[in-house]
């Protein structure tokens, strides 16, 4: 097996300017046999153009039903060092902020119980600890809990919510995304750790419609900050932009999707037709020194976002156009509970909430969770005449 220890293909990925994951792997391989095993198996995948992992078995920690993804080599004889290579999904800190102290504690634990390899972060937002064996899973979790890190979700459960940086470092934040994220993560620990749902459920929070957390596209329930009054315009600052040669007409007025803005050249005043603004962020993004979000702030709740498997991808749909967002977020939690309760009861196995809504109809879903239909929910009303009427709505027939 010794000639196998060279990795000519992977080595090529150490060249080039972009930081190399191969370098990271090889460094880890020096300290961890398991990581070294991974490098060998990966080289084989590069040669053979095929993966070498098989369907995972169930691996876990006491008290939890998820948070660990079991992984086994499909050729343990050939790759004995990575025959087991499980990952732990660990709740990230809201907004991905860390003290170096915490990160160092984490590194020490992970070097002890695993490969010392991570994804920082996983696509859902977790800290992914990449590669340990079955016997180390529980001790690793115990050590993690010592330093205050808990597991995320897997299976038919809530995933760790994630969010944009929001108020911590952004002038556009309409809501406190990080606080909502932290609050929900704590509130829903049980739903995250003990899978009891038809499939996964994700929550993401962006503090404005720029959606830097990709919430609408990538979570079943997205919370997107916005305002319901008018944008705030600092006319002096606008004039300064204009004086500096900023292309107001071309880059802002024409790009406003609803033509809500008008430049009164005479009075040098930028006017907004408040009722036309759809808070698309554009003018604010383009002129951050002159235009700001409004004062009456809250969030829209979007439902059903997901990737393509298996009925096709969805970008989340408006469920609630506007909701105030004040701790402890009671109204929000009520909506989440009603949504997940209904889904838990009516969803089929491996059916995301968006697919359930597609199947039963949005009207039925709204009724079940007690929300009134509003036109913001649709881009247009139905074009087909196939309206359902219930027996209660019509005159009894003789």
């Amino acid at each position: 097996m010794d000639e196998k220890k060279t990795t000519p293909l992977l080595d090529e990925l150490e060249a080039g300017e972009w930081p190399s994951f191969v370098t990271q792997l090889k460094q880890a391989a020096k300290k961890s046999k398991m990581a070294a095993g991974l490098v060998q198996q990966l080289e084989a995948s590069y040669e053979e153009k095929i993966g070498h992992w098989k369907h995972g078995g169930i691996v876990g920690v006491k008290g939890y039903g998820g948070g660990v993804v079991g992984r086994y080599s499909d050729d343990p004889e050939r790759f004995p060092d990575c025959r087991e290579f499980h990952t732990l999904r660990v709740n990230q800190v809201a907004g991905f902020f860390y003290s170096t102290k915490k990160l160092r504690e984490l590194a020490d634990v992970w070097d002890k119980y695993g490969t010392g390899l991570y994804n920082l972060h996983g696509s859902t937002g977790d800290i992914i600890l990449l590669g340990t064996d079955t016997q180390n899973v529980q001790p690793c979790f115990d050590a993690l809990s010592e330093i205050g890190f808990d597991l995320g979700g897997s299976g038919g459960a809530l995933r760790t919510p994630s969010c944009c940086v929001g108020m911590a470092r952004c002038e556009k934040a309409c809501i406190d995304s990080m606080d909502i994220n932290h609050n929900l993560t704590l509130h829903y620990q049980n739903e995250m750790h003990r899978p009891a749902w038809p499939y996964k459920f994700k929550i993401k929070i962006s503090a404005c419609p720029n959606d830097c957390a990709a919430s609408t596209a990538r979570s079943d329930l997205a919370i997107v900050g916005l305002w319901r009054d008018t944008i705030e315009i600092d006319q002096d600052a606008v004039r300064e932009y204009v004086a500096n040669g900023f292309k107001l007409e071309e880059n802002v007025l024409r790009r406003c999707p609803t033509w809500a803005l008008d430049w009164d050249a005479e009075n040098k005043e930028l006017k907004v037709k408040a009722e036309d603004c759809t808070h698309c962020m554009h003018c604010i993004n383009a002129m951050p020194k002159a235009i700001r979000i409004g004062k009456e702030r809250g969030a829209a709740i979007m439902i059903g976002g997901k990737a393509p498997v298996v009925k096709g991808a969805n970008i989340g749909w408006v469920l609630v156009p506007f909701m105030k967002m004040e701790a402890p977020y009671t109204e929000l939690k009520e909506i989440i509970d009603r949504v997940t309760d209904y889904w838990a009861e009516h969803g089929k196995n491996r059916e995301r909430v968006g697919e359930l809504i597609d199947r039963v109809g949005y009207a039925t879903f709204l009724k079940a969770i007690g929300l009134e239909p509003v036109p913001q929910m649709v881009t247009a009303p139905r074009a087909n005449p196939y309206i359902f009427w219930s027996a209660e709505e019509v005159e009894k027939r003789g």
């Binding site: 990925l13 080039g16 300017e17 972009w18 930081p19 190399s20 994951f21 990271q24 792997l25 991974l38 995948s45 153009k49 993966g51 070498h52 992992w53 098989k54 006491k62 992984r71 800190v93 907004g95 991905f96 902020f97 860390y98 170096t100 010392g116 390899l117 991570y118 994804n119 920082l120 972060h121 696509s123 115990d142 809990s145 205050g148 890190f149 808990d150 994630s162 940086v165 911590a168 470092r169 934040a173 606080d179 620990q189 049980n190 720029n210 959606d211 830097c212 990709a214 596209a217 292309k247 071309e250 698309c280 962020m281 554009h282 990737a307 393509p308 498997v309 298996v310 991808a313 970008i315």
Partner: protein
Amino acid sequence: MARTDFGPPDYREMLPPIVAENYGKWLYHEIPQPGVIKHVSETGAVLYSVRMASPRLVNSDWVREICDIAEKYCGGYLRFTTRHNVEFLVSDPSQLQPLLDELKARGHMIGGAGHAISNVVHTQGWVHCKSAVTDASGLVKSVMDELHPYFSGKIKIPARLRIAVACCVNMCGACHCSDIAIVGIHRTVPRINDELVAKTCEIPTTVASCPTGAIRPNPKLKSIEINAEKCMMCGNCTVVCPALKIMDPENDGVSIWVGGKVSNARTAPMFSRLAVPFIKNNPPRWPEVTDTVKHLVEVWAKDAKYGERMGEWIERIGWERFFKLTGLPFTEKHIDSFTHATQTFRSTTQFRF
């Protein structure tokens, strides 16, 4: 028994003081140089965030290295972005240049802010996923070795451009809504190990798992059979029944998708749409893929207006012209054949020649 359900560390204990003090008070920002974002607070405080590329798949030494740097220049705090970059938060303006110098000296790459290509959202690939048709990390590395000047700001572009890579159609990440997405796909029907099916799989569940109804029971063999004409190679049945194998090194490969976006800025979020149906897996550097992606970036960058994302550009010029300008062939694969296909057929004479 160990503690459970205690959740993550409290973010309030992880914030650098300048952030804690100016929380919710930020007024505006500027991007004074590539990869550096300057935020100004209503308190007068000024914060410089320096964004550094990360390979995302990292080791503990790397973690300790960024900790060293953050301790030296940032009071012992740092953050990651939603696209997996590292951000060093500098509250003392005099520390900015030294930090930049040190990052450069250590070989790190600064960039990704504003109108730039930022880090690639990607997935496990052959490194860790059983479903991987290709290697995500290798593709990212290969593509970004070509495109890093767009990250570091050496080459300017009209708007943000977001790239994502997924190693299978599950698309863990952002592929369904990215300016450019690279997605691993299968092109052959799952092979059936009849004996193993009989032993290990629930036939009704397997039949039900197929979204196109391509599977039916084969009672004679106590197995199933697949109608090849109806199979769209989604792999869903192989998740449910491990006796079905869809991996095929000869025929698996990647597809390229364009024009998606996530933000509600100007235009509504958009799905990524098919540009190139298939390119063979060609590790370790996937040159055909990197060439195509680079070409797409270049054509867009040349023709798009200021601030116009890939999808917005295509919406303006039309897909007819997109295929013309890029020289990519339009084939029957590009025409949707799934549930809502008819909604993408053009029902107007408004088009370009």
